[in-house]
């Protein structure tokens, strides 16, 4: 009898609170993160039969196929495009974030909204918008033809550069927001102190602004670089199949290629690359909270 009441006490004081607070989160994580991940990992080690059905038969075949030279070329191209997109986004976003952070008036909100509102709109639609704008009979070409600046429509679509443009455009808010919050926190009197002590604007930038906003720059770069590796529809629509990226490769395995195990193996690689980048970010002293993790 006493034993029983002790047990129920323990249940009430220890188990019940833990159950009610942690259990829902754990359940959510298990359902939506752990199980799908395990499923992907398992499939990546599976075989397929002649009808492209997944057969639960252990094999390394999918991973061996990943080092195919054609694939390696695509990985390199993906990394290059993601890298260039990141650099370009950083170069454009930094001055922009600086202006928002340093503007005191009501215009600040206007600038902020200019970043946020497109962010709320589906990026697929916006990418199609670019296609309409840049196409052979698109607005830009029609306009240039009309003012007789060109006699033939320019071939603006389906270049790697167009893909980069789309990436930068889509991922711009992810770069601006961390930069903005880092610049916002930057104490203006430090800039004055720097100038007071004889530093020119360029010196102040490298000595004070850059080191003090580096964590914002890191997180912005991570937040652009990682999605850029996987945004297959941007290279699909704007690159027109000329610019294959790892995201396209994965998408194709699950759709037209119908080779789920290979797609899963590719996904695993992409996840590993992502984790590696986040680890590097952490090592460099990056703040996980600013990644939204």
């Amino acid at each position: 009898m006493e034993e029983k009441s002790k047990k129920s006490m323990r249940f009430r004081s220890r188990v019940l609170p833990a159950l009610t607070t942690v259990a829902p989160v754990s359940l959510w994580m298990i359902l939506f993160v752990a199980i799908p991940m395990i499923y992907v990992i398992v499939i990546s080690f599976c075989n397929i039969d002649e009808n492209y059905n997944v057969v639960f038969q252990f094999t390394f075949k999918n991973y061996i196929r990943l080092i195919d030279p054609d694939y390696l070329k695509i990985y390199l191209q993906s990394l290059l495009i993601a890298f260039l997109s990141t650099v370009l986004a950083l170069l454009i976003a930094f001055p922009f974030a600086w202006i928002i952070a340093r503007t005191k008036s009501r215009r600040k909100n206007v600038f902020y909204m200019l970043v946020i509102i497109p962010f709320w709109t589906n990026s697929l639609i916006r990418i199609y918008g670019w296609k309409t704008f840049l196409g052979n009979s698109g607005w830009l070409n029609s306009f240039l033809l009309k003012i007789h600046l060109i006699s033939e429509p320019l071939d603006l679509l389906y270049h790697p550069a167009t893909t980069i443009l789309g990436m930068v455009y889509c991922l711009f808010p992810f770069m601006v927001l961390p930069l903005y919050s880092a610049l916002e926190k930057l104490d203006g009197s430090l800039l004055e102190a720097s100038a007071d002590l004889g530093a020119r604007k360029v010196q102040t930038f490298f000595e004070v602004i850059l080191p003090l906003t580096s964590s914002g720059i890191f997180s912005g770069c991570i937040m652009v670089f990682i999605p850029a590796l996987g945004y297959f529809y941007v290279s699909d629509i704007l690159g027109g199949g000329n610019t294959d990226m790892i995201g396209n490769l994965i998408e194709r395995q699950f759709q037209s290629g119908n080779n789920w195990p290979l797609g899963a193996a590719l996904s695993i690689i992409l996840i590993l690359v992502t984790l590696l980048l986040v680890r590097i970010y952490q090592k460099l002293g990056g703040d996980m909270e600013s990644l939204g993790v």
């Binding site: 009197s189 004055e192 007071d196």
Partner: protein, 369 residues
């Protein structure tokens, strides 16, 4: 070359419709400790920032050693600032913070090390080289900020309420240290504060500011004994103010009709019938049971407050105004509730033109039709 190191002539600063600094003229002598004293929003910090180069004057000229600097960027000016919030670089060590100015000027490394060490010992922070600002106390940060500014050997050091964030005891100690440092290095200090005691303790001269205007620039004793305006008289220390109208002038002595009777004060350049303000410090107020002076205001002793060396006394006049007086402890004094006569030595009262008078202001601001 003039004896002044910093000269401000007809300097104005206007933000939108806000006229922050109004036609300011201020001449600072080389090697002096000058304080800009005033309550918040009086334009003292703006003045300092214009000298530093963080703000551009709307009009007027600012010269350092006779050379116009208003077009110069902050980094081109031979002045350095100690900020209220210290503004130490959080990502740099104490050594790198102090060395910053010299590094920007590309001074050789060996000399930088030597001069930083010298500065660290001067502000008593030897061995703090490798620490970061976040590991320092408020007082230590303050010293680093001073060392970081002084290492550049500026012609003028600007200090914007540098002790504002420190507790009282530390503030007192730093006041003396700063004063000693200034004497030792013989650098001109322009110091901004709203703390009148701090200003009186440290300054060679004080410029009392009020609403964008300098009311008076003078030595602390002069400011205290002979305030030029009612604002200065009431802002610095305790005082009793009487407003009235001159009814008779005999040599320097003016007879003034105030609300509760007639009083006297000495003054030059006053005219009969003029509205004036009289300021008398509490320690100069005398009060007796009998009307024995050449003039006296009747009042009733309200209470005494014993504060150690002196006894503070409040006397209520018939119109309800209170007069504050002081007596040395142990002296025999009238009892609470007794009728007394309030008076003073004519030479102890300060007679002021009543520029604060609302009628005077109303007349002055009237649009010309």
């Amino acid at each position: 070359m003039s004896e002044y190191i910093v000269e401000l002539d007809h300097v104005n600063k206007i933000y939108g419709t806000n006229h922050v600094v109004k036609d300011m003229n201020l001449h600072v002598k080389a090697g002096e400790f000058l304080t800009l004293l005033g309550s918040s929003g009086c334009g003292k910090t703006t003045t300092l920032r214009m000298i530093a180069g963080f703000e551009i004057p709307s009009s007027g000229s600012i010269r350092v050693e006779g050379e116009s600097i208003e077009a110069k960027q902050p980094f081109e000016r031979d002045v350095n600032t100690v900020f209220q919030t210290y503004a130490l670089f959080p990502h740099k060590t104490i050594f790198d913070n102090i060395a910053y100015g010299l590094r920007m000027k590309k001074v050789p490394k060996a000399e930088i090390r030597e001069r930083v060490e010298e500065m660290l010992s001067m502000v008593q922070l030897e061995g703090f080289d490798d620490r970061f600002p976040s590991q320092l106390s408020g007082g230590q940060k303050q010293r680093v900020a001073i060392a970081r500014a002084l290492i550049n050997r500026p012609k003028v050091l600007l200090l914007d309420e540098p002790l504002g964030a420190l507790d009282l005891k530390l503030r007192k100690q730093m006041q003396l240290e700063l004063k000693r440092l200034q004497k030792k290095l013989n650098i001109t200090f322009i110091y901004v504060t709203h703390d009148q005691e701090e200003a009186l303790t440290m300054s060679d001269r004080i410029a009392v500011m009020h609403d964008g205007i300098i009311d008076q620039v003078a030595a602390p004793s002069e400011i205290y004994e002979h305030p030029a305006t009612k604002f200065v008289a009431t802002f610095i220390g305790e005082t009793n103010v009487f407003e009235g109208c001159i009814v008779e002038i005999d040599g320097r002595t003016c007879e003034v009709a105030v609300e509760n009777g007639f009083v006297q004060a000495n003054g030059d350049d006053f005219s009969n019938g003029e509205f004036v303000t009289i300021s008398v410090r509490p320690e100069k107020i005398k009060f007796y049971k009998d009307d024995i002076g050449s003039f006296g205001l009747q009042g009733i002793v309200k209470d005494y407050i014993y504060v150690g060396s002196v006894l503070k006394c409040n006397i209520v006049l018939p119109n309800g105004n209170e007069v504050r007086a002081e007596r040395l402890s142990g002296e025999e004094v009238p009892k609470v509730g007794e009728v007394v006569y309030v008076t003073w030595d004519v030479g102890d009262a300060v007679l002021l033109h009543n520029r604060d008078n609302t009628i005077y202001n109303a007349l002055n601001n009237m649009p010309i039709v």
